[in-house]
């Protein structure tokens, strides 16, 4: 065991995970003044008073099995001081299949809750006032439908729609690249996004109808610089689509939000957020002439954990998540989700989920890190690294533009292939030990008996119960109203100009199922054909 560096290692080239060579010591001449927080281009944050005015939202992702069980977990989390809900949906709901579809077999209620119709959403939020909480849905392919369902659920509770706060992910472009819950081809998918975002602007002005996500491409293997660059490129594609459909960028840009992973390199991650925030503001100003500060402000949520978690000696992940949590706060995140230490190999238990929540509370209330705005601001190294990352991001975005834009890069499978190659490189680096993973490829105890703690087991009877409720919900609804609503949806979708949200909301009120709505739209639009290129 030798903890001391050998002379050769001390002088060797050291680079961040994105490949930016790190100086041995950063000096005054390397950095420039980042300006003030709350002022364009917002390097130091979008608020002049940072977290003093408003702390970040602690938003833990959970939801599994049936609506009843998830409802119990949500109430538990709210009682424990959580300030927002984050709903995980099962894959059939995400991919637009009802629980009785052959493709849904063995996936019902697995990675999230099944929400096949408004009936289930009413159960999910029973006893929870939708006017008093903010809810985030990780939903993309069927995002417009789930958003419609949320509005219908609020109507049922008597909560005015304008009072609703929350987020739907609603970012289909990265689904084609890395997460895979696409349904329709790109053009109609972009329409669904534009319809929901423009509708939300008018009807639920405090609700984020899109959260443009880099998290999944990052976990699929790309670097921090690429994560931000691909995400901003997708963001610009949405701005173009929204503008083309009559949206006013100065208005809708106020409600665009972003979502990222944070991995283990503390400074690179903090600088990724500082650089991305600044670059987004500059891009909106340069390309669209936006000058309104509110519209230029880059708001984002962060997940700590994901693929940086390690199955070997899993309790070490608690420390990893704490460091990542710190990076997210130093980067100025608006909401943070901390993964549980056992997420490297299973759905978290209540025990591990509580530690993840407490980690954030310790950072927020004990560490003092949120007491002053952007405490890293003005550090020679941090300002220098922020500049290097912004340059790197611009370079990656220029490459996408040169290819013909992000939509073409995705439809051709070009972007997917780049990410796969990057993932392979990262795996090779890890296998060779160049990328150190403590407990796995370095400092691994021989004959290590990993302790995995409590085991999460989903109740195997859940799928059966969901199927029963699905049949029951279809039997007890007003069949004529559901049929009329679905016909109206198909008619509205056939015209490219009509906003689909009102008909989707009526479908939800009529207890039409997610699968029924998707089926009607598939008839018209077909399905995305995945480019399988290696």
């Amino acid at each position: 065991m030798s903890a001391q560096l050998k002379p050769a290692q001390r002088t060797a080239r050291v680079a961040t995970p994105s490949g930016i060579e790190v100086p041995v010591v950063a000096t005054r001449d390397m950095a420039h003044d980042p300006g003030a927080p709350g002022v364009y281009p917002f390097t130091r944050g979008i608020f002049a008073d940072g977290y003093r005015g408003r702390p970040w939202t602690i938003r833990q992702y959970s939801g599994f099995g049936s609506a009843e069980e998830s409802n119990r977990r949500y109430r538990f989390l709210l009682e424990q001081g959580q300030t927002g809900l984050s709903v995980a949906l099962d894959l059939p709901t995400q991919c637009g299949y009802d629980p009785d579809h052959p493709m849904a077999r063995s996936e019902v209620g697995k990675v999230g809750v099944s929400l096949f119709s408004l009936a289930e959403m009413e159960t999910l939020f029973a006893g929870i006032d939708l006017g008093a909480i903010s809810t985030s849905f990780t939903i993309n392919g069927t995002a417009a439908i789930i958003y419609a369902m949320y509005l219908a659920a609020a109507d049922k509770q008597g909560v005015p729609r304008a009072k609703l706060t929350g987020t739907i992910q609603n970012d289909i472009l990265k689904e084609y690249v890395a997460r895979g819950t696409w349904i329709f081809p790109v053009p109609p998918s972009m329409r669904l996004i534009a319809d929901s975002v423009l509708y939300a602007n008018e009807v639920t002005p405090r609700f984020n109808a899109i959260s443009i996500a880099g998290a999944h491409v990052r976990d699929a293997g790309c670097t921090a610089v690429e994560e931000m660059a691909y995400t901003l490129a997708n963001g610009l594609a949405y701005v173009d689509e929204l503008t083309r459909r009559g949206g006013d960028v100065a208005k809708f840009a106020r409600r665009l939000s972003f979502f990222f992973y944070v991995h283990m390199d503390l400074f690179e991650e903090a600088c990724k957020f500082r650089a991305g925030r600044r670059l987004w503001a500059k891009l909106l100003r340069e390309r669209y002439g936006v000058t309104d500060d509110k519209a230029l402000q880059f708001r984002f949520g962060v997940v700590c954990g994901g693929s940086s978690l390690v199955a070997a000696q899993p309790y070490n992940n608690i420390v990893r998540v704490a460091i990542e949590n710190l990076a997210a706060v130093l980067g100025g995140a608006q909401s943070i989700f901390t993964c549980a230490y056992d997420e490297a190999f299973q759905i978290p238990t209540e025990f591990s989920a509580e530690i993840a929540l407490r980690t954030q509370q310790i950072v927020q209330h004990e560490s003092g890190v949120a007491a002053t705005v952007d405490p890293l601001g003005g550090s020679y190294y941090v300002e220098w690294l922020t500049d290097r990352m912004e340059e790197g991001m611009r370079g990656v975005m220029d490459g996408i533009d040169a290819y013909g834009g992000v939509v073409k890069a995705i439809e051709d499978g070009w972007l997917q292939r780049r990410i796969a190659v990057r993932a392979k490189e990262k795996k090779d680096d890890t296998d060779r030990g160049e990328r150190v993973v403590v407990g796995q490829n370095r400092f691994r105890r021989e004959a290590q008996a990993d302790s995995y703690g409590e085991v999460f087991r989903l109740d195997p009877a859940i799928a059966g119960r969901v199927l029963e409720k699905h049949a029951q919900a279809k039997r007890s609804r007003d069949a004529a109203r559901a049929a009329r609503a679905l016909d109206a949806l198909e008619a509205a979708a056939a015209s490219d100009r009509e906003n689909l949200m009102p008909v989707l909301i009526e479908c939800c009120h009529a207890y039409a199922t997610v699968g029924e709505m998707v089926e009607r739209l598939k008839r018209l639009w077909g399905e995305f054909q995945e480019p399988v290129r290696l």
Binding site: L91, K110, G180, F345, A423, D431, V455, V532
Partner: protein
Amino acid sequence: MSAAGAGPLAGKRILVAKPGLDGHDAGAKVIALALRDAGAEVIYTGLRKSPEFIVRVALDEDVAAVGLSILSGSHQELSHEVLAGLRAAGAGDIPVFVGGTIPPQDRARLLDAGVRGVFTNDTPLAHMIDELARALG
């Protein structure tokens, strides 16, 4: 990348498949690239394939091995369905490997059911290639 025909898996045709609805394909693609580097001819299905479809492709393409990538927690059911499908088609001798987010305590159950090997993201690629090369002779 090694030329076709060289490497420990030279001449082997291997199917890498994504059963079910799980959309996380980074692992499957990394495996496919590694198998190809090792000389194998790789057929990758793309996302969202039913066990029936995977069995059919395995037979039609006369593959030497099948790799299933599952990160959604449905590894038991989906692996069992593929194994049963291969057996029913008289191709129970095609070895099936499973990779993904597999809780440690599920490993033995998969092996008992007839899965030949289980790999997770901390398995070194060289180790996986060795194991395949041994299994495929």
